[in-house]
């Protein structure tokens, strides 16, 4: 029973688990980007009440443990009897709500790092708010936004394991299945760690590459 056997004997578990991780990640990543962009738009908008809503949302969610958010959706949400959602959907909603707050902050601070003169010049040319934002500020903000945004999505990928702690078919949940099969849990978990390294390291390298290239450009 070498360490490789633990992987090969349970390859079905690992394949299913990491496929679950990637599914959870892709759905949550897309969702969090959309919600985060909406929140960021609220936070820089000329409507004070919308700015206030955005600020309150971000401050609350950023200071809540993700475990608590998922705890709420795992155990408390069914009590409200709103709509019977699968655990996968509820985990996605929790991850989206949490991650969107961070996405919002990154987009907002990216918009804020664009020199004031750029927006002033475009306004002097008669651009409206929407034109200023979409044609002058955002294209420049992208290079400030994408590297940290990639970081947040990498963190989201790792955070999917928390959803597994509340049992969902996903890489972090492999532990339970392994111990039921009587396999070596220590080696089995190390393989989970290796799996995450394989997923995370290329993304991190890509992120650093982007960061280096774009941060020196200014």
């Amino acid at each position: 029973m070498g360490p490789v056997n633990v992987l090969l004997d349970n390859i079905d578990l690992y394949a299913r688990g990491f496929l679950g991780t990637i599914e959870l990640f892709v759905v949550s990543a897309i969702g969090s980007l959309i919600l985060g962009a909406i929140l960021a738009a609220m936070r820089v908008s000329p409507v004070p009440i919308l700015r206030a809503f955005g600020t309150v949302y971000v401050n609350i969610l950023r200071n809540t443990p993700l475990t608590l958010v998922i705890f709420f959706f795992a155990f408390a949400y069914p009590r409200l009897e709103i709509y019977d959602l699968s655990y996968f959907t509820r985990a996605c909603i929790g991850l989206i709500l949490y991650t969107a707050a961070f996405v919002c902050e990154v987009i907002r601070s990216g918009v804020n790092t664009v020199p004031v003169g750029q927006a002033e010049a475009s306004r002097a040319l008669g651009f409206t708010f929407n034109q200023t934002l979409s044609q002058v500020v955002l294209p420049q903000a992208v290079r400030n936004v994408v590297p940290p945004l990639a970081n947040i999505q990498i963190a989201l990928l790792k955070n999917t394991t928390i959803a597994a702690g509340f049992s969902v078919t996903e890489a972090g949940g492999i532990y339970q299945a392994l111990s039921e099969r009587g396999a070596n849990v220590f080696v089995g978990l190390l393989w989970v760690a290796v799996g995450f390294l394989i997923l995370v390291v290329p993304l991190t390298l890509l992120q650093r590459n982007l960061d280096r290239r774009w941060s020196t450009a200014r």
Binding site: V47, I49, L66, L80, V106, R123
Partner: protein, 290 residues
């Protein structure tokens, strides 16, 4: 107030449109909140019976003890991750090739592996694989130390590297040795600039103590689950979760508020090492997530 740069002072038409947007936005947000409150009411979550647990002295002590456990894990993990970060930041900046290589590998490894997987390895894996039993408390604390320590090592290194080169060159020119340059010249300046980032990383540590719940460390969430499943109290899991959420959010807001306050004060002071602060802030965007 850079937001104001994006648009002109609104004229009458823009004001009307903003008003409309504001009203529509408010209606949508209030609608969502109202719907949730309505569901609370319909499913009887506001019944006095489901809230009566708060009045039991025993339960108050139970929650207080759980809060104590959370804070205990937080304090130990915070101190240990600062130490771990300092050691490995020094290791990464070492002139000895093998020391810096080794430190880099360790730091990168623990940053890439999900914290929960680390905690699982410590709690379930090490006891079965190596025969060393680690209690839930230590599994949480050590896991937090390895992960947050690695992030902090990066923060420390970024802070030191962001200082102007002239600082260390001048110190060397004065005949200081490597350790002296680091401890007497670079660190005092870098730490000042990094303090807000370090504090906001401590918020992450505090938040992540909640992961202890998953390996049944008896902290706030664990007790919330326990109380929430008590039939004779009416299984008030939603209510307990809400109270626990308020406790967590309040604690984290205090820490984040402190970090923001410090940041503002550092910005105002003229010799705050603006470059180091900027670099630290960039690192924070990574650190601020889990």
């Amino acid at each position: 107030m850079t937001a104001a740069v994006l648009y002109d002072i609104p004229g009458p038409r823009a004001r009307a449109r903003n008003m409309l947007l504001g009203v529509v936005g408010t209606v949508v947000v209030l609608g969502i909140i109202g719907f949730v409150v309505y569901r609370f009411a319909v499913t009887g979550q506001f019944d006095a019976r489901l809230w009566s647990w708060i009045t039991y002295v025993n339960i108050q002590y139970l929650l207080l003890g759980a809060l104590g456990n959370t804070l205990k894990a937080f304090a130990a993990a915070a101190v240990l991750s600062l130490l771990f970060g300092a050691v490995f930041a020094a290791g990464r900046m070492s002139d000895h090739r093998w020391v810096s290589r080794l430190s880099t590998t360790i730091v990168e490894f623990f940053r890439a592996v999900p914290l929960l997987v680390l905690i699982f390895i410590l709690f379930f894996g090490v006891s079965r694989g190596l025969g060393v039993n680690i209690s839930a408390y230590w599994a949480v604390v050590l896991g937090l130390m390895l992960y947050n320590g690695s992030v902090l090592a990066e923060v420390f290194r970024a802070g030191v590297r962001a200082l102007p080169r002239g600082q260390s060159e001048a110190a060397y020119a004065l005949g200081m040795r490597k350790t002296q340059v680091m401890t007497n010249v670079l660190l005092p300046q870098a730490l000042r600039a990094m303090l807000p980032t370090i504090l906001s990383q401590l918020v992450v540590v505090l938040k992540d103590t909640a992961l202890g719940f998953i390996i049944l460390y008896q902290e706030l969430l664990y007790q919330a689950r326990f109380l929430g499943s008590q039939g004779q109290l009416g299984a008030p899991i939603l209510q307990v979760a809400m109270v626990v959420a308020v406790i967590y959010i309040a604690m984290c807001l205090i820490l984040s508020g402190l970090s923001k306050l410090l940041e503002k004060r550092l910005r105002r002071s003229p010799r705050g090492g603006a470059a180091a602060a900027d670099e630290a802030e960039r690192e924070e965007e990574y650190a601020a997530t889990l």
